[in-house]
């Protein structure tokens, strides 16, 4: 297992290199014109362009630039480890910015995951146990709604109803827990959590329903019943155990994707997370920031994948890695 994890980590590094190289290529090589000219402002003088080139290392050949970037990334730069460079716009170091935004996105993503797991999976299980009942139909109606309702619309509706009209929850904006305390923080996070979670809850309800219905028709469920086990035990120990295990994979993948930024939710609720930074850096053509959010997204997905595989091997005895 240890060897397997090391091999996978090396693979993560490789993926990271490929992705950053492609990002480098797309943003520095493909657009027409000299990047330094683009970064130097509306009316660049040759002296200013030269200055920009020097400052960002754009005067060196492309491959050397990339090499320097990789070196800084793995060995750290003047702002610490990992070296994430400085913004092309503000000239400020990006490392603290990225870490802070990642923390906001992580709070959003993990909170939402908790919500969708605790809504989606129980709904799925209950409707699987009574397929085609009224409850099942209502649950699947909810699932259809959750899948179909776009987050930007749902977010606005939630804000309008629960904040503006009813005043049950606080409005948009991020209020760090350390500064404002748990209540204010959670009050502002609850709507983003729920809105983001609804879509996933709907998927998870459908998945766990489908998985459980399929599992309950397996031969080993018949064996469990033939042994004379109580139905409750048949469902919980034998049915749920195998039908919920695949959901672990989904949770990991979805969390990984979300950690790379929940762009719409962050925008609707004005949360300064990675997603907002993505929009901002792309629209401002801040190449260093784009590179950094790409690294964050790639790392989140690959590391979550690794985590999922390790957990899965623990849950399913048939899976063994060497």
């Amino acid at each position: 297992m240890g060897r397997y994890i090391i091999r996978r980590l090396l693979w993560v590094v490789f993926v990271l290199l490929v992705i950053t190289f492609i990002t480098y290529f797309i943003f520095l090589k493909l657009p027409p014109g000299d990047p330094a000219t683009r970064f130097a402002g509306k009316q660049p003088t040759p002296a200013l362009v030269d200055e920009v080139k020097k400052q960002f290392g754009l005067d060196k050949p492309f491959i050397v630039q990339y090499g320097l970037f990789v070196k800084r990334l793995f060995l750290g730069d003047e702002f610490g480890w990992p070296g994430l460079g400085k913004s092309f716009n503000t000239r400020a170091p990006l490392r603290p910015v990225i870490l802070e935004r990642l923390s906001v996105t992580a709070q959003l993503a993990f909170g939402a995951a908790l919500v969708w797991i605790s809504i989606g999976i129980p709904i799925g299980i209950l409707s699987a146990l009574r397929p085609r009942s009224l409850g099942d139909r209502m649950a699947m109606g909810f699932a259809l709604f959750g899948v179909s309702a776009p987050v930007f619309w749902l977010g606005q509706m939630f804000l309008y109803i629960f904040w503006f009209k009813l005043g049950w929850a606080a409005g948009s904006g991020f209020y760090p827990i350390g500064q404002y305390g748990f209540i204010t923080w959670a009050n502002h996070m609850i709507m983003p959590w729920v809105v983001l979670a609804l879509l996933f809850a709907a998927f998870y309800a459908r998945m766990s329903r489908g998985n459980l219905i399929e599992t309950m028709s397996e031969d080993y469920i018949r064996t469990a019943r033939a042994k004379g086990l109580a139905e409750r035990r048949v469902v919980v120990r034998h049915g749920l155990r195998s039908s919920l295990t695949p959901l672990v994979t989904m949770i990991g993948m979805d969390l990984g994707a979300l950690l790379g930024g929940a762009i719409i939710t962050e925008t609707v609720f004005n949360l300064p997370g990675i997603g907002q930074l993505v929009v901002k850096s792309v629209s401002e053509n801040d190449f260093a920031a784009i590179l950094d959010v790409t690294i964050v997204a790639a790392l989140a997905v690959t590391l979550m994948n690794l985590l999922v595989d390790v957990v899965y091997a623990y849950l399913d005895p048939r899976v063994r890695y060497t």
Partner: protein, 337 residues
């Protein structure tokens, strides 16, 4: 005759589906004495598995219409509340299934799965139950049972898994073991081992056995009585030697002729029964077998033949006269075997 262990009277299992009523089991009656082995033979869809799943209370479809009586030691299992039936299931009557590859839970250790069955019916500690499980694995001929109990099903071969299933089924010393095609998914050499094992354990545990199979050849030497089923009905029922040496039903003849024999001349073709089993929604009028029967008469297309005894408890459901049946069997079926 001794008091029967299990007596089934006019059992019907119909399923209402969108396409119509499926008469999976359409009025079968039979009885099993303690320690006896009954073979139930028929093609896929003849209702043999459904009958015994019903007896076990394992038919859970809402559209199932079940009628008749299933008397186990005089108690009608069909009328028992599900909780009481659960205490009989697995403890007094247990069942093993066709595919040992999928019949054990892939996520739990084999020993734990047997222990779970024991603890569902007996108030013993986990450790004690595990010890009993290891002992059962030993008795079904699994080498190094202590180690094997700690392994997962995927670490077992097919034959070993079926042995483990048998260990589980016998762990509570049941009165009746229902084996639903226990060897169909196994290699031929392993088949014989498993059948011999069931034979031996049946003596050791003093249990009656129901052997469900589609292969008359398999059950020949292992059964006291045989019931041949076709389209949800029993078409012939009697002692094994009656079925083999004095069969009275054209369907049974077809089954007998389709047994492969090792001493047959090379180049001899298998003789299959022509046609396909009927749809259980549109069962042919009259005798369900008549479209495939080489000896079909006009009456067969109109009237359902009743299951009538000829001698002892050998009975068959066929419109042919007894003399005719004996003539055809002797001249055409037995002569070719």
């Amino acid at each position: 005759m001794p008091e029967p262990l299990l007596e089934v009277k006019d059992l019907k299992v119909h399923f209402s589906t969108d396409d119509g009523i499926v008469k999976a089991v359409d009025g079968i009656s039979f009885s099993i004495a303690p320690g006896e082995t009954l073979g139930v033979v028929g093609e896929s869809g003849s209702g043999k598995s459904v009958s015994f799943l019903t007896i076990m209370g394992l038919i859970r479809s809402k559209g199932a219409l079940i009628s008749g009586e299933v008397l186990f030691r005089g108690q009608d299992l069909l009328k028992l509340p599900s909780d009481e039936l659960r205490h009989i299931r697995g403890a007094k009557i247990s069942m093993i299934f066709q595919d040992p590859m999928t019949s054990l839970h892939p996520f739990y250790k084999v020993g734990a799965q047997i222990s779970e069955a024991i603890r569902a019916h007996q108030d013993v500690s986990k450790k004690e139950a595990l010890n009993q499980s290891v002992e059962m694995l030993r008795r079904v001929g699994i080498p190094r049972p202590e180690e094997r109990a700690k392994q997962y099903p995927h670490e077992f071969s097919g034959g070993m898994r079926q042995r483990a299933m048998i260990a589980m089924a016998l762990s509570l010393n049941p009165d009746l073991l229902i084996a639903d095609e226990p060897t169909t998914a196994l290699d031929v050499t392993v088949q014989a081992q498993i059948l011999d094992l069931i034979d031996r354990l049946k003596e050791e545990f003093d249990a009656a056995v129901v052997m469900i199979t589609h292969d008359l050849g398999v059950v020949a030497e292992h059964c006291d009585d045989i019931m041949v089923m076709y389209a949800g009905k029993a078409v012939e029922y009697g002692e094994a030697r009656d079925i083999y040496y004095n069969s009275h039903h054209p369907y049974t003849w077809g089954l007998l002729q389709s047994i492969t024999r090792i001493d047959e001349d090379l180049g001899e073709r298998l003789r299959p029964i022509k046609g396909l089993p009927p749809s259980l929604i549109f069962v042919p009028r009259g005798c369900a077998f008549h479209p495939r029967c080489p000896y079909v008469m006009d009456v067969c297309k109109q009237e359902v033949p009743p299951l009538l005894p000829s001698a002892g408890h050998h009975s068959s459901a066929c419109h042919l006269s007894l003399a005719e049946k004996e003539r055809i069997f002797d001249q055409e079926v037995a002569a070719q075997r």
